[in-house]
Amino acid sequence: MRAGQGAGIVNGDPTLEGIAEGNGLALCAAGSWTAPFAPVLERLVSEAEKLRGSRANIFIDVSQVSKLDTFGAWLIERLRRSLTQGEVEARIAGLSANYSSLVDEVRRVNAAPAIETSSVSITGMLEQIGRAVAGVGGTVISLIDMLGAVLAAAGHVLIRPRGFRLTSTVHHMEQVCWRAVPIVVLITFLIGCIISQQGIFHFRRFGADIFVVDMLGVLVLREIGVLLVAIMVAGRSGSAYTAELGSMKMREEIDALRTMGFDPIEVLILPRMLALVLALPILAFLGAMAALYGGGLVAWLYGGVDPEAFLLRLRDAISINHFIVGIVKAPVMAAVIGIVACVEGLAVQGSAESLGQHTTSSVVKGIFFVIVMDGVFAIFFASIGM
């Protein structure tokens, strides 16, 4: 029995030769019994195990082994164990003093490894579905819980204004508002252009080009402006909040705060929530203006509606109500995004994977709840006739 591997290592390829003599079996191991040869060694050992038969006298001669490490030592030990049956114990011979401690070490290993059990069954799947459904309820409860905690912290700060963290709030305002302005303005500008172009393209067939101004005004001020900006903020700042709080949770920073007598809600979450609630109306307003500007530009260049006519028409088409309907939604959506992000951030467990999962679900849930809120607002405003 001989096995080799193309690239020879200094001490040569490992071999294991079996010599059967009547009632005895001698297995001579030689060469490098080391990790790089592990695949070969494993095959050699499993072949040698078959030679056992019912021999009474078995020994493994390792005197020709030039190099031995944990892999080799374990495989020799595995061979010895499988050749040992009942009263007949296989012996290891010719072990040099250098390696005896290594062999002793692996001899202590318990050979019954606990294999991970992954159950794929119908009951398991049903259980998962059940847990997911129950999890939805849990999500709603934890959101309400966080809302309550934030309001309580806000109340606490109102009573004792010195506890308010202005610097932190301003810092987060910069992050979520000021730094978001360029991208928000750019994207809403482009969306305004696209709505206007599409409107003109289709209305032209009925000779109703000018109605594009009505459509643009109502759509942007009531819906698109705030909804689009809220979705962008959920992706941009909601994910950042979750990642920040999550990694602070992972490194026990939040526990440290708590033990120093600070309320993490008051120190970390309230400034973030406040920054977001202030930022979103500002961003929604800027976004709506950029979209109207982009729409007007396209209407002029593509549809031939000159700016003066556009503004005149816009004044007739929209009222302050449209603007209010849009902007009133902004702080509520900001609160929803912030609460979802903070709940997810505090739910992060110890691993990098968990951080990723919660950041993903922060954005997904944030956007979902923003759209649900938008629907609720639509029903509300329709019923009060705004």
């Binding site: 374990w74 595995r78 318990n110 467990q349 691993s351």
Partner: protein, 258 residues
């Protein structure tokens, strides 16, 4: 059976290494040899660049000048495959353990083996258990996640992972920091035992005087970006260098020696 290579040739040969961050020169023309089969303790004041040297040798920090040879291979001139060959022959224990947080202990230890060797799942599990046993952990911890382990267990698992491929050279970055004195003593003993059984060469950055006394064959001292002294613990105690005198004759050192 031939004895393991016992020649005193240098397994790591560092020559004229200079490392600079911005305008701060951290290592300045540093020379160091680590001999095969020894445990080298590496000490120096906090912020003197011990970790930087370790990270420079293993290639995580770029150097401005100088050369580094590991196993006789110049790491700058080495091809990608030579470099991978070297990386497979060393194991590294990072200061914080650096276990993969989304993998279990079992998967952490098996990870390097699985990537480098095509062996059966059975052998992977058996080797994993052998390594866990070697670092003094029970098989029950195999399916726990790193976040569910204590600090000492994290260090042990990280050592088991560093040893997974039976490396010839192990870098330990402050292995006993953050352990209680008993665990730290056990850890030193463990490093000693492993060095004897596996014929390891150990490069150990440490602040622990006990480790220096009980585990290390030689000690190198870093100061001002250079090695200011290399030698046995007796050489260190005899040295007249002010920092060394303070370090080895201070209150804590006297407590350890008595």
């Amino acid at each position: 059976m031939a004895p393991p290579p016992s020649s005193s040739d240098a397994i790591i040969r560092v020559r004229d290494i200079t490392v600079q961050f911005g305008k701060t020169r951290v290592l300045d023309g540093l020379n160091l040899d680590v001999k095969r089969g020894e445990i080298l303790g590496f000490v120096g004041p906090s912020g003197s660049g011990k970790s930087v040297l370790t990270r420079t040798i293993i290639g995580l920090v770029p150097k401005i000048s100088g050369s580094i040879e590991v196993f006789g291979i110049d790491l700058d001139a080495a091809s990608d495959s030579e470099r991978r060959g070297v990386e497979r022959r060393w194991g590294i224990l990072f200061q914080q353990g650096a276990l993969f947080s989304s993998l279990t202990v079992r998967q952490n230890i098996q990870f390097p083996v699985r990537e480098y060797l095509k062996v059966s799942q059975r052998l992977l599990d058996e080797i994993m258990l052998a390594k866990l046993g070697m670092v003094g952990l029970k098989p029950e911890v195999a399916d726990r996640y790193p976040s569910e382990l204590s600090g000492g267990m994290i260090k042990r698992v990280a050592l088991a992972r560093a040893l997974a491929l039976d490396p010839e050279l192990v870098f330990l970055d402050e292995p006993t920091s953050g352990l209680d004195p008993i665990s730290a003593g056990d850890f030193d003993e463990l490093v000693r035992t492993l060095q004897r059984t596996l014929g390891l060469t150990v490069f150990m950055v440490t602040h622990d005087l006990d480790s220096l006394y009980t585990a290390c064959d030689r000690i190198a001292v870093l100061g001002n970006g250079k090695i200011i002294a290399v030698g046995s613990i007796a050489d260190m105690q005899a040295s007249q260098h002010p920092w060394l005198r303070q370090y080895f004759h201070g209150k804590r050192a006297r407590a350890v020696m008595s």
